[in-house]
Amino acid sequence: MSVQIILAIAVFVIAYVFIATEKLPRVLVALGGAALMVLIGATDDAAVFFSEETGIDWNVVFLLLGMMIIVGILRQTGLFEYLAIWSAKVAKGRPFRIMVMLIVITAVLSAFLDNVTTILLIAPVSLLVAQRLGKSPVPYLLAEVFASNIGGTATLIGDPPNLIIGSRGDIGFNDFITELAPIIVVLVAVLVGLCRILFRKSFSFDADRAERVMALDEREAIRDRGLLVKSLVVVGLVLVGFVTSTFTGLEPAIVALLGAGLLVLLARLEPKRVFGDVEWETLLFFAGLFVMVGSLVNLGVIETIGQAAKGAVGDHYFAASGVLLFGSALFSGIVDNIPFVATMAPLTADLVQSGGGGARPLWWALALGADLGGNLTAVGASANVVMTGIAKRNGHAISFWEFTKYGLIVTAVTVGLCFPYLWLRYFL
């Protein structure tokens, strides 16, 4: 093993530890690690900017950018607040029915928006509804963040790890829908049942309180109907673009950018309102990660590990799927699932390439494990951190262990159900 390889592995491991422990801002670590990889010669400008395999995955970066712009404009319309209040009123102010409606809405929204945005949209309205009900908002917030992490698993654009898996595995929007959405529908239904049991003391009905919920006026949430119509038209076109991308040949990233460009043109908002929700740090974090992982690919480190993995797996893809599913869930519950999937994606690609169609379920095991594992602890997913932050700011602090008490049960049940799903669907 050359000094260069040892240095590259050291840079990667140290960066990973810093990202996992959050001792430094993750974007700083990823970009610093990428810079060190360039300095030690593990990669170069040609690979960083132009290699599809070992450089920055522009498909992922620009798909994220396009969706951030679209969602950033759409959220200004008040549509999500309208939906949440409307659902609480449809539920007639009955606490459990409201929770069911909010779980379903969160899961569906989360399949098309990133999870953090979904929580930023749904948490304030849940606090308002819980206050009107005279209930603690904690069960509602926990149920929503669980639903968000589950719902986001269903589509290519629902959770950042899926973007990486889609790009590295050449897996399209429709593939995610057909392969993952069925089990996600089941898991959302299971989550509803779990919440009924876990939060059973929170559902007593008070007619006076229900009246206060019914007094909310959801129509007042919509402040700009013109913008709402334009946004919905563009979102519809973008979804059609995703679904038909196999036929049109337009990459999802191009579809998202075209949609974002069209909406910017139609909305005619000031730049701050158009780009205010773009998380530039997240985009740079992705870029840095891709360079670091790409450097290990360049130096043959990933290939070597891949060979060892192939030797260990042989043609036992069902067992490998199980290991990947549960291992990813455990790992993603403790550290950020984005660097984990960025690292595992080239390894999984190697295994799938050598194993052919029989090994393809490994991608689904990775996606299910990494995405659903985010529910395990309060730091398992960015959405969890955002939700606990909002709860604390509003006087309802949720401790790490309180979250984990519920998260452990939800993760064990949902990931546990994925195992027979993989077996029934791909290996029976």
């Binding site: 948490a123 309205v125 308002l128 909310l216 006026d217 007042e220 949430a221 509003n394």
Partner: protein, 158 residues
């Protein structure tokens, strides 16, 4: 014109003052902020009226302004109920509320010095250190600007 010339007395609250009373005080006297005194009556801190309103509003409404219009008249009653039982002490302890140490100006501070020091401290109320007065006296930003404008108006035209 010196600080002691334009200083005025203000109602001072303390940690035990009910938050609802503090809101009424601001409303009835058009105050730009509240001066908070220690247990011995010595003014020690200032909280602006904006921050008192910030304390009055639930955090979730500030997180999502789209919700503010959905709450209706019930929302107004919610605000009152939210303040019941809370005191200025709770407001001081809230990390989201900016409570500043009271700025102390010398009695002979001129208008430009007063303006600059108040801007530097980002405060609209300053305590005047004037041993000749028995009660604490304060310069408020509107009072300072009144004095400035009056001075300009008295200036002989060229």
């Amino acid at each position: 014109m010196h600080a002691s010339d334009i200083a005025t007395t203000l109602v001072v609250v303390d940690r035990s003052t009910p938050a609802l009373d503090a809101v009424r005080l601001i409303a009835e006297q058009d105050l730009v902020g509240l001066v908070i005194a220690e247990a011995d009556g010595h003014p020690s801190a200032v909280v602006s009226s904006v921050d008192v309103v910030r304390y009055m509003l639930p955090g979730y409404l500030l997180d999502d302004l789209s919700l503010t219009n959905t709450v209706g008249d019930v929302g107004l009653e919610d605000l009152r109920q939210g303040l019941e039982g809370r005191t200025i002490g709770d407001l001081i302890d809230d990390s989201d509320v900016a409570v500043r140490s009271v700025l102390v100006l010398p009695a002979d501070a001129g208008p430009v010095e007063m303006a600059a020091r108040m801007v530097d401290a980002r405060t609209q109320v300053a305590l005047v250190h004037d041993p000749s007065r028995s009660e604490p006296a304060f310069v408020t930003l509107p009072g300072l600007l009144d004095a400035l404008v009056a001075h300009w108006d008295r200036r002989p035209t060229a």
